[in-house]
């Protein structure tokens, strides 16, 4: 126990160093009125990092489980560094590019958290992408119709809750399989998004329909995704939001009774039932968490991208989220999950896409390079596990 704490503080220290590095990159602070908010965010970042390190029991076991993803991340970062320092006028490590990657990672991370919790408890959610899309479209449409931004945000989050509740009730009460329910949900919620709005929805439209909301919308945007009114990224706020959420999830998962319930349910829900745990209620709440986070990610998507297309906003995000969760150490069999790993898992895909852009991998090859990279990650992971098992014997 004491050993893990020592390792944990080393990790905390190095993460702190990285954080400080980031801030140096981020300085000088934008001189807008939002500067202060970002300082607040920075503090939040430090707080959430500390919380994460505190909950992350950095045993060798955990470290090894994340070795695959660490190697993957390290090698891509290494390649980007080589590009930065050796090649022509490409500057992948510049603040604005880093900020863009971090923001992508942030929003992927948010849905990854929810998806991972669901997988942890032995379920799966294939409707995440459609919920993201539906949320983005609903958020935009509501504002276009004249709903104040904050109210729209609240309504969309409630929509997420309602969706999670429906999915969850079908799974827990009707005993349908989550794969099936959420597969149907994937069609349905995408369908709802298209039925709600047959054309693109977006912030400009909302602002021009209702100029009175322009200001509050802009400041919401600055706060949640760190973009100024002209669309420039001033701060990777999404990442901070994700880190905060991750810290909360980490505390729940590793330091509260609920986390214990979820682990137990994921491994063996019968045993959990016999131990007096309200398995159905716990499952239901995880569904709600997952869909609410997805809805929140939909809001961020609209704020970040400025517009959303009902037919394809958030398409296949469930796959990215599941992949990220698995890379981050979640087992699809249920019962295994490390909160800190999820963050690492969510870092992978955006950085791979960014790297491919800088190394001019042709568009036509990007998909298979991506697939191969992910496969290598999982294979590496499995080989490491085996090696450990053998080394132990």
């Amino acid at each position: 126990m004491s050993g893990t704490i020592k390792l944990g503080s080393i990790f905390a220290g190095s993460l702190g160093a990285v954080a400080i590095l980031w801030f140096t990159l981020a300085l000088p602070w934008p001189t807008t009125s939002l500067g202060n908010r970002y300082q607040l965010w920075s503090i939040s970042l430090v707080v959430s990092l500390t919380l994460l390190c505190f909950t992350f029991e950095l045993s060798w076991r955990n470290m090894l489980r994340l070795l695959g993803v660490l190697v993957l991340l390290g090698s891509i970062l290494g390649r980007l560094a080589i590009i930065q320092f050796l090649e022509g006028d490409k500057t992948p490590l510049d603040k604005s590019n880093i900020f863009a990657i971090l923001s992508e990672q942030g929003s992927l991370g948010i849905i990854t958290l929810g998806a991972a919790l669901l997988i942890l408890t032995g379920g799966i959610d294939l409707s995440v992408g459609s919920v993201v899309g539906l949320a983005a479209v609903t958020f935009g449409t509501l504002m276009e119709m004249g709903c104040p931004p904050l109210a729209a945000l609240a309504i969309v989050l409630l929509l997420g809750v309602a969706i999670g509740f429906t999915n969850g009730l079908l799974v827990t009460q009707l005993k349908l399989q989550s794969f099936l329910v959420t597969l149907c949900g994937m069609f349905m919620f995408r369908g709802f998004a298209r039925a709600i709005n047959t054309s693109n929805t977006g912030l400009q439209q909302a602002k021009s329909n209702h100029p009175e909301f322009a200001e509050s919308l802009d400041s919401m945007r600055a706060l949640l995704v760190g973009k100024a009114a002209n669309g420039a990224v001033e701060f990777p706020a999404t990442l901070v939001v994700m880190m905060l959420l991750a810290a909360i999830v980490a505390v729940i998962l590793h330091k509260s009774a609920y986390g214990r319930y979820w682990f137990a349910i994921g491994y063996n829900d019968q045993a959990a039932r016999y131990a007096g745990i309200g398995v159905e209620r716990q499952r239901l709440s995880v569904f709600v968490i997952c869909s609410t986070l997805a809805a929140f990610a939909g809001i961020l998507l609209l704020l970040w991208g400025g517009s959303a297309n009902p037919s394809n906003a958030g398409n296949s995000y469930e796959l990215y989220a599941i992949t990220a969760a698995v890379l981050g150490g979640v087992s699809l069999k249920g019962g295994e999950c490390i909160a800190a790993g999820l963050i690492l898992g969510a870092l992978v895909q955006p950085i791979i896409f960014n790297w491919m852009s800088f190394d001019q991998i042709p568009d036509s090859a990007q998909l298979w390079v991506m697939g191969l990279a992910l496969l290598s990650g999982t294979i590496a992971d499995e080989l490491i596990r085996r090696f450990r098992r053998r080394a132990k014997g």
């Binding site: 490409k90 047959t198 998507l301 297309n309 398409n315 852009s357 568009d363 990007q366």
Partner: protein, 329 residues
């Protein structure tokens, strides 16, 4: 010290999605890049979303490009971002415009006028009126709305653009009935486009004077496949958009009336030429608008009375297009 790539001026093109249409643009762009001795980076987002497109654009800005041509997906929403980007690098819009961004110029056809051209082709095929079915990938993007509006306005002989942009359609446009009172969409999936056409044919089997209009590049051939499958070649009139080889082939065989082409080759060629000119110190203020005129492809390729666009012969156009594509491969 940094190794400085090829040392050439770099320009980039970002399309709105991945489609065959853009192969032609790529061919033109490569040609222009070679002529102007610039380095070209041609990128296609994996899905037709603003987020994917802007991700590519932002990353390109860190790669030392001196000029950028973009096919705008959502003009209104992308205007703030593109305005900012136009401040950092020379920007050209192509295929779909965002005119309040401070771009150098717009390279492309007017989709509304192109739509009207398709409408005229329908009128020639069914002069006494009839039922028309419109097929299109999506109706969410600006250029698809314009295209649909163009066709319907031409048929109606009046201007309904505002209503159509809002997604409100009428039963009748002039002497023409709009099948299902809306365009049929397929989410840009070819297989879906085909089933859509098949079921439409099934329902219009007993209706006289039917024309089907395919407004995305793959739509005409999806319609043609369905029409052939139901043995209705010749009975159902087909009017298309863009220069898919199967479409051109169908026109040559007389199965399709005509197709309206936008000349994507010129999109690429003109965009890169323009960007290279400015990057090498050319005078920005002297760049004229590069409006490209749409053209019409028919079987004969001969002048048609009252039509003032260039008219191409399908078989010839098909051959030259193939050659220009092959030249860059």
């Amino acid at each position: 010290t940094k190794k400085s790539g090829s040392g050439k001026v770099k320009v980039a093109i970002v399309t709105n999605c991945t489609a065959d249409f853009w192969l032609h643009a790529e061919a033109g762009a490569k040609k222009a890049a070679a002529e102007n001795d610039v380095e070209l980076d041609f990128r296609q987002p994996k899905t037709q979303t603003v987020i994917d497109q802007m991700e590519i654009v932002e990353a390109l800005l860190k790669q030392g490009i001196k000029g950028l041509a973009v096919s705008v997906i959502n003009p209104e929403e992308q205007t703030p971002d593109l305005t900012r980007i136009a401040g950092q690098v020379n920007l050209v819009t192509m295929d779909n415009d965002a005119d309040k961004t401070g771009r150098l110029c717009y390279v492309g056809v007017d989709n509304y006028l192109a739509g009207k051209e398709a409408g005229r082709a329908v009128k020639r095929a069914l002069p006494k009126g009839g039922t028309i079915a419109l097929f299109i990938g999506t109706t969410t993007s600006a250029n698809s709305k314009d295209r649909v509006a163009g066709v319907l306005d031409e048929l109606a002989g009046s201007d309904n653009r505002a209503e159509i942009r809002k997604g409100n359609f009428q039963e009748k446009y002039g002497v023409y009935t709009l099948y299902r009172k809306a365009p049929i969409t397929d989410e840009t999936e070819e297989a879906k486009a085909r089933t859509n056409a098949e079921s439409a044919l099934e329902q219009l089997k007993n209706t006289p004077d039917v024309a089907m209009v395919g407004l995305y590049a793959y739509n005409p051939k999806a319609i043609l496949t369905a029409v052939r499958g139901k043995n209705l070649v010749g009975k159902v009139k087909i009017v298309g958009f863009d220069e898919d080889f199967d479409t051109l082939d169908g026109i040559d065989k007389g199965e399709i009336e005509a197709t309206v082409v936008q000349d994507p080759y010129q999109y690429g060629y003109v965009s890169v030429t323009c960007l290279a000119y400015v990057a090498k110190g050319g005078d920005k203020t002297k760049i004229p608008q590069k409006e490209i005129k749409h053209r019409l492809v028919t079987k004969e390729g001969t002048m048609i009375k009252g039509v003032d666009v260039e008219i191409l012969k399908a078989s010839v156009f098909s051959t030259t297009t193939r050659e220009s594509l092959a030249a860059v491969k």
